[in-house]
């Protein structure tokens, strides 16, 4: 068994991070030049970390699978980025941001980590603004904010519906500055296919050059994973279609514990599936819920056009069930409520799997111009995809797989259970508990990358200054490369009948049906068997065309799907183990009489950190969650 030591600093909540920084070990500037760091991923966390580490003087090598670091999927985040600036004078502060996240995460996150991310949130906004990120402004020239799902203050900074893109391009620009300065070397179009561990420490990676097929070795004193989430396990999700879990999964199989894998956020407002062959679901920003009202017809199977249904025959079910928060309830609550109405037969649209998001009243009150200013690009996108005009008729939306709160287990220093291996941004588990609040992912990714990891990594690296550059010809690299080659060979040699994409689609359906918005024991057990069967079918009937030593998109896909087929089982195992409902994890067996999630704090107030155990059932390690500063409460939005 591994030991989980979260290394939380002593002292009052508000002083932990300060105390940590005051006591942390530093690396002398002359020694930084001699230390190599590998960063995988170039989203907000990866590009942020790489540029900050470069600025500090380390030698950084950065990898991404896209052709350019500017394409990492942080680019697609729409609504905004939170910070406790209190620019609206509405009583916001670091503690309130912290508390909203702890409550929003349904008391399944670590207090100290959450408080720290709230603390650095203001620095993130300062930094992005200085980098030239064009956040929305007031006429007086100050920054504007808006309120976002699940909170009652206005703390979300935004750049229309493209906040993620603008923050990512800011991160890309700081990365470019370091590439020019020579501290960072960029390796695009690379898949990380193996982690190299030497004497118990992460010391390198094996990559595949996606253009030439070449297998490459890269060594470093530390490895940072900034590889995002695994929501594409559902096949249809709001993620980029090439987003994958492979790097994190390789780390897991080398000994890094995987925490709370079943905690997946289903986003309430995505464009519903339109055809059988669809490859992804497009998100419509949650900010739309600030002005849009969600409703379904009061009458089952009402097929009249939305505009023909009179006011008294509309059921604004979120406003009805949650009068205090109304349409702004957190994502998990909004998603389940939509599913509940559709399952009960009140859904709209061609498939009945959609609800209305209506701007009629907002347009009447604020004018079309004002709505266009706020959401113009989202409305255009919706119209381009569906052919429907949301200025004239309600949008139709439905929940979709979106964000994974689970991820690699990390301690306060963001280090995994493998010394020298760090995980930041969405790839770790630490800050969002069982549910993430809107506009917190950009905040966490940027905070981890720019302001937390660069501090905490030095406590590990300060012990490594005597280690010379790690050679790549040792037996551990030989072994890792051999494993990679054998697996690629195997994928190519099955020569069966079905494509990797077809397996992925089937896996996604199983996960969506049984390990999605709601789960129950019988369904999860069934899903586990189904995933196992599908996996054995994959390894006996997969078809990959082309060769390994060449550009081969089928082979890339096959490797990723192979890993998803294993991760899916771990997600199910975790969901089975946690017999309570909390946040996005809704076990049907554990609900209140009026259908709300019911936590069981006496039994499940812990982080489930799963340890790889060869082919056998994974080992469950528990990190108890201690709440010293907040009182555990029922999470109510009524």
């Amino acid at each position: 068994m591994i030991t989980l030591n979260a290394k939380i600093p002593e002292g009052p909540l508000g002083e932990k991070w300060t105390r940590y920084k005051a006591a942390s070990k530093l690396v002398n500037p002359a020694n930084k030049k001699k230390l190599d760091i590998i960063v995988i991923g170039t989203g907000l966390s990866g590009a942020g970390a790489a540029s900050s580490l470069g600025e500090l003087g380390y030698n950084v090598k950065v990898f991404c699978y896209q052709d350019s670091p500017r394409r990492a999927h942080s680019v697609a985040a729409q609504g905004g980025i939170n910070a406790a600036k209190n620019y609206k004078n509405d009583g916001d502060n670091v503690y309130r941001l912290f508390y909203d996240m702890i409550k929003g995460g349904d008391f399944r996150a670590r207090e100290a980590n959450v408080y720290r991310i709230a603390e650095v949130s203001n620095q993130v906004i300062d930094h992005y603004t200085a980098l030239g990120v064009p956040f929305a402004r007031e006429y007086g020239g100050t920054l504007d904010t808006r309120s976002f799902g699940g909170v009652q203050v206005s703390r979300t900074f935004y750049a229309k519906g493209q906040t993620g893109q603008q923050c990512l391009l800011g991160a890309y620009s700081s990365l470019n500055r370091q590439i020019k300065a020579g501290t960072v070397k960029m390796f695009p179009r690379r898949d990380m296919l193996e982690l190299v561990v030497i004497d118990g420490k992460a010391r390198g990676i094996i990559t595949r050059n996606l253009i030439t097929g070449e297998i490459e070795r890269h060594s470093a004193h530390a490895v940072v994973l900034a590889t995002g989430g695994y929501g594409t396990v559902y096949y249809l999700s709001t993620l980029a279609v090439n987003s994958n879990a492979s790097a994190a999964w390789k780390a897991y199989k080398k000994g890094a514990a995987f925490a709370n894998p079943s905690f997946v956020q289903i986003h309430p407002t995505s464009i519903p599936q339109l055809n059988e062959f669809q490859s992804k679901l497009t998100l419509m920003s949650e900010s739309l819920r600030n002005d849009g009202r969600i409703w379904v017809p009061r009458q089952k199977g009402d097929t009249r056009p939305a505009n023909d249904i009179p006011e008294e025959e509309r059921d604004y079910y979120l406003e009805r069930r949650y009068p205090a928060f109304g349409n702004l309830v957190p994502r998990d609550v909004a998603s389940r409520a939509a599913k509940e109405r559709c399952d009960a037969g009140y859904g709209v649209g061609k498939t009945g799997l959609a609800v209305n998001l209506d701007f009629r009243d907002a347009i009447k009150k604020q004018g079309k111009k004002s709505i266009e200013n706020k959401y113009g690009n989202l409305f255009d996108m919706y119209r381009a995809i569906t052919g429907m005009n949301p200025y004239e008729e309600p949008m139709q939306i439905y929940p979709a797989g979106h964000y994974t709160m689970g991820g690699l287990w990390v301690d306060y220093e963001l280090m995994t259970t493998i010394p020298g291996l760090f995980a930041i941004g969405e790839s770790n588990f630490s800050d969002h508990g069982a549910n993430r609040l809107g506009a917190s992912s950009l905040m966490q990714a940027a905070g981890d990358g720019y302001f937390i990891l660069p501090v905490t990594i030095s406590s590990f690296l300060s012990g490594e200054i005597r280690i010379p550059r790690i050679p790549t010809d040792g037996p551990e690299f030989d072994e890792a490369e051999k494993n990679v080659r054998e697996r690629l060979e195997k994928l190519l040699s099955i020569k069966g009948k079905q494509s990797a994409a077809s397996f992925h689609r089937r896996l996604g359906k199983i996960m969506w049906d049984y390990c999605g918005m709601t789960r129950n024991e019988a369904g999860l057990k069934k899903a586990k068997d189904m995933v196992r069967e599908l996996r054995s079918e994959f390894w006996s009937d997969l078809k990959v065309t082309g060769e390994g030593d060449d550009l081969n998109q089928q082979l890339e896909k096959a490797g990723r799907v192979a890993d998803f087929l294993e991760l899916a089982e771990l997600m199910i195992t975790d969901a089975l183990n946690r017999k309570e409902s909390c946040g996005a994890h809704f076990r049907e067996e554990s609900q209140t009489p009026d259908g709300e999630a019911m936590r069981i704090d006496s039994e499940y107030s812990y982080v489930a950190a799963w340890e790889y155990n060869g082919g056998d059932e994974p080992i469950l390690n528990k990190e108890p969650l201690k709440f010293e500063f907040v009182e555990l409460k029922e999470r109510s939005y009524k």
Binding site: D67, H127, I211, Q554
Partner: protein, 244 residues
């Protein structure tokens, strides 16, 4: 829908490419253009033929990975859409669709519809940034920025770096791409201290990478999926003159 696809196939940068024709049925008007290509590829794989290689990722019009000529237009005939957002509703049953990779000297073909756009990254590395180290930023509201300037900066900053402007230009000019970034920073007070060095470095790198010059035909603006405006190029020129 049933379509005839004429697609450029090319093994690598050195190989001689050629068009290949495919008949594809079962296309639904709800599909996106890339889903239509997915369908073609799944058929090709089932026939043990080499699928068509193309770059794609977010499939929601924001990452800038995808891009190809569709019937001669970068990203296809509908203004303001990337290839991934282009719906098959815009095509007719029985239509022949010609699909080619970006054609521009600085974008060598890697395979089929995939081209090497690293020249665009190199221009950004040359100067597409504001030099501020993490930790050094002043409080965000200490610099007031006129809303109008900030909004204009945003309109330039939304470039997704797809390369359609270069592909649309008869000179393979990257002026719209470069001007978008230069404009974003030129319009913000944060960007002013390095304005001269930035514009010179980016223009110099643009020339070094072999992109052509602007002759004001406006094809780039017409084909830009984010509808970045031509006046950014005027601002780029102004910034460039001012830098000497």
């Amino acid at each position: 829908m049933k379509l005839r696809l004429k697609i450029w196939r090319q093994k690598n940068a050195e190989a001689k490419g050629a068009f290949a024709s495919y008949d594809l049925d079962g296309v639904s008007p709800d599909m996106s253009f890339l889903e239509m290509l997915d369908l073609l590829n799944s058929r090709l794989v089932s026939e043990s033929k080499e699928p068509v290689a193309f770059d794609h990722d977010c499939r929601e019009g924001i990452c800038g990975s995808c891009g190809m000529y569709i019937n001669g237009y970068p990203h296809g005939p509908v203004p303001g859409l990337t290839t991934c957002h282009l719906s098959m509703r815009y095509f007719r049953d029985g239509e022949t669709i010609t699909i080619e990779p970006w054609r521009a000297k600085p974008f060598p073909v890697i395979r089929d519809l995939i081209v090497d756009r690293s020249a665009m990254d190199k221009i950004q590395v040359a100067g597409g940034f504001i030099s501020v180290t993490a930790g050094a930023a002043p409080e965000a509201n200490s610099n007031l920025v006129r809303k109008h300037s900030s909004d204009l900066a945003f309109d330039s900053a939304i470039c997704i770096g797809c390369g359609a402007c270069v592909a649309a230009c008869k000179n393979a000019s990257a002026m719209l791409f470069v001007s978008a970034r230069v404009s974003q920073y030129a319009l913000l007070p944060q960007g002013r201290p390095e304005a001269k060095e930035r514009v010179r470095a980016m223009v110099e790198e643009m020339d070094r990478q072999g992109f052509g010059n602007c002759s004001n035909t406006g094809a780039c603006e017409a084909q830009c999926p984010k509808q970045i405006r031509l006046f950014n190029i005027a601002r780029l020129n102004r910034e460039y003159y001012k830098s000497y």
